[in-house]
Symmetry: C4
Subunit: 257 residues, 4 copies
């Protein structure tokens, strides 16, 4: 395998499909969101993406079976609405700069072949979130951005870099005249963050007029809350200690100067 | 040399060959196992693999001669059984991600041309081994996995990553419809570990119905035991010291907070 | 996108054009100079350069819009003089060695197609500048270098490496028989340095017989001065402290030896 | 420039040429030796090698001129002996693994086209040299090795890795059926080491029956001796201090355990 390649497992005709992409990244927001959506929609597997730019190991499954790292495309036939869905998630981002560009290009070529009209990418936005995480949006299309804002997202601050596949898909989509938007759930980013994923899914529902049950995420949120609280307590003690050390050092410097 | 290439040193017809692969890695288990097997079977050299992804140095032999780093294929004509053997070992793993994928693909292309039906890869599995090391197995084929379990291997835990050539050969074998299994000998992994290699060879013998004399490994095991014991003693003292330091620091933190 | 590519946004015939290049680098001198020049000349956009060797993120604009990192070519029709201008600046340098060579080659191929006769590259030259920064020049052509020296640049010391695109463009220009010169504004290099950019622009004006209003830079210079002064004060205290520490350590060593 | 390329500056027919290669590396032994030899033989420039795997900067010459990093081939017409000489040296080794293989292959392709019969590569061999440095030899050909031993080189110990171009040229020469030998001058390797270069040149003279005046190196040796002595004095004090610290720590550990 010399190049990123996509292997289709089934042939299917899709109706004005929207591609939703979410790979591992900050707070795992992209991956949690896309996987949850695929599960709730009972989306079916369409294709797998393999790449020599993924890490060079394989993973063992439950039954002692083994598989390459990969990306996966799922599809969902939308019986009542205008747009079918294409969902993309996977095990990993590319490990090199050139690999990042190659994989994003490869996903978009496939999307174009499948006649995708809109790309939605999902990720995390680092912030010391106190309350319900907000969803930060940026887009190649003012109309699409507007839809997200109506769906209660907020516009991304200027200068914000969107790193990895979620960003490059937007940047490269222009060359194919495909509109694209990125939704970033606010997250501290230390740990998988289902709360941020829930916020993103709420915006997605309003934007794309699709309805999924989000109660499955609430259990995850409860569990992660406990872990985060414990971590914060440890961190606070560390910070207190570091502050004291810094104070002492400053006193010493002041004394010398 | 721009690409990984294989140079055949002899032409030979093989009967339903099984490929056994073991490169340097954790505890050198793969390399020790494969080399020992080749030596005991008096396997003959079939081909050499060269790659621009190997480290950029050459090695000096005993006679002041010099050679590129390489991988080597050996073959063994199995007079009494169904399957001839193809053995692959070498000096090094690839040094880049893309190189890892390229070399594994190149080995599999060659295996396919030689009509290989089964690939067995060998490596180490990191564990604080107390007694006889176990052998951990994962496979692309339930039947093959079953054979290993009957041969007294244990199934790999889920989520275990298999890193490097031993892993990628399994992941990529699927695309060629070649069944593949990985056998990982438990090892602390600090040092070349002939004990883990012996455990792997015992499982291999039962699985592949081939018989080799393992007594040659026992001397190596004796030697390595002494070295490990000395290292463990040093480590224990260090750990004791580190624990004491941590305790003191924690007391200080507790005192402040 | 597998290779660096240039997309032209307009077709235009240029008269003996001179290419002025300045990318981000030491003190941001190249970028500040080229952007300021483009703005004052009201230069128009000619083409964009995209590359898989740029960092793998996209940037959000003011309106929540998104764009790939890129380089940009601007042109200026010189009504009264002999040479039109081509200006190149951008968001980033290439992130790998091979990418650096590829992007510089790509820029030069484009310049050749546009019939460029002279290339001027801009960068920073690290120095603890006290007064007005000088401009250091090196060139592939003695005549061009002479023009710069007459324009009050000083000749580069021998052995000085010119790193990145500003350097490689000179090195590679020879193969296309295009004369090239590099102008490096002296700068401490910690922070964007408009003062160094002003010095470069003054030399450029004299060399290329073009006149732009530089007063817009003076406000930037005022602002940056304050920041630098604050930073220097902090640094001085640190240095004092570090010197004291070193002295103490040396005393200890001397005592032992 | 996408690939390593060689540009010939003159056409010349060479008589059974021997290629002598020496790039920057340990103690700069390869480069000093080859440059000194070229200078003494008044060898003329034949070709330049450029590569996108060299570092991405250019160098300023004495006259404010600029040039790409490069390798250089020189030739020497041997009026009285059987073999003309081809000499290769340059500014830098390749910066990536793949680049190392590419550049070595490119040099050998050129050597083959020029009908080269023997390749001699020069480098450093790390050792705490007390007296006159010895010259360590390894070869692809027993006869060639023998000639070096008769010329007072010593055979390389087994297992010694020869890193970089000096090594890869030997490894890859086999594929072209060109005999090759590597001569490594013993050196501490901290600093450019003309003493090691002199030893190599003495062996080379005996091996290749060529005579050059080595007195020019003696001044360099004097200068470098002083620098080394000063550095050793500093190092000794450091080592003393480090030993004391280690002793104290060990006492503490022993006390605890």
């Amino acid at each position: 395998m010399e190049k990123t390649t996509i292997k289709e497992v089934t042939e299917i005709e899709l109706k004005n499909p929207i591609l939703v992409e979410g790979l591992p990244g900050l707070g795992m927001v992209g991956r949690i969101t896309t996987r949850y959506l695929a599960k709730q929609l009972k989306a079916k597997k369409l294709a797998k993406l393999y790449s020599p730019h993924f890490p060079y190991y394989v993973l063992v499954n439950k039954k002692g079976s083994v598989r390459l790292l990969s990306g996966e495309f799922y599809y969902w036939k939308n019986e009542t609405g205008e747009n079918d869905f294409l969902l993309f998630t996977g095990d990993s981002q590319a490990q090199t700069i050139e690999g990042q560009y190659e994989i994003a290009s490869c996903i978009l070529d496939f999307a174009e072949r499948k006649n995708v009209k809109i790309v939605v990418t999902i990720g995390g936005f680092r912030k010391e979130v106190e309350e319900t995480p907000k969803v930060v949006a940026a887009s190649t299309s003012p109309e699409l951005l507007n839809k997200a804002l109506q769906g209660e997202a907020i516009a991304s601050p200027a200068g914000n870099p969107i790193v990895g596949t979620a960003g490059l898909l937007l940047g490269l989509a222009r060359f194919k005249k495909i509109d694209a938007i990125c939704l970033l759930g606010e997250t501290r980013g230390y740990l998988p963050d289902p709360r941020a994923a829930k916020s993103v899914l709420e915006v997605l529902q309003r934007m794309l007029r699709v309805k999924v049950d989000l109660s499955g995420l609430d259990k995850e949120i409860e569990k992660s809350k406990e872990i985060v609280e414990r971590m914060l307590a440890i961190e606070e003690r560390r910070e207190k200690y570091a502050r004291k050390m810094r104070r002492e050092e400053e006193e010493r410097i002041t004394y010398i100067s």
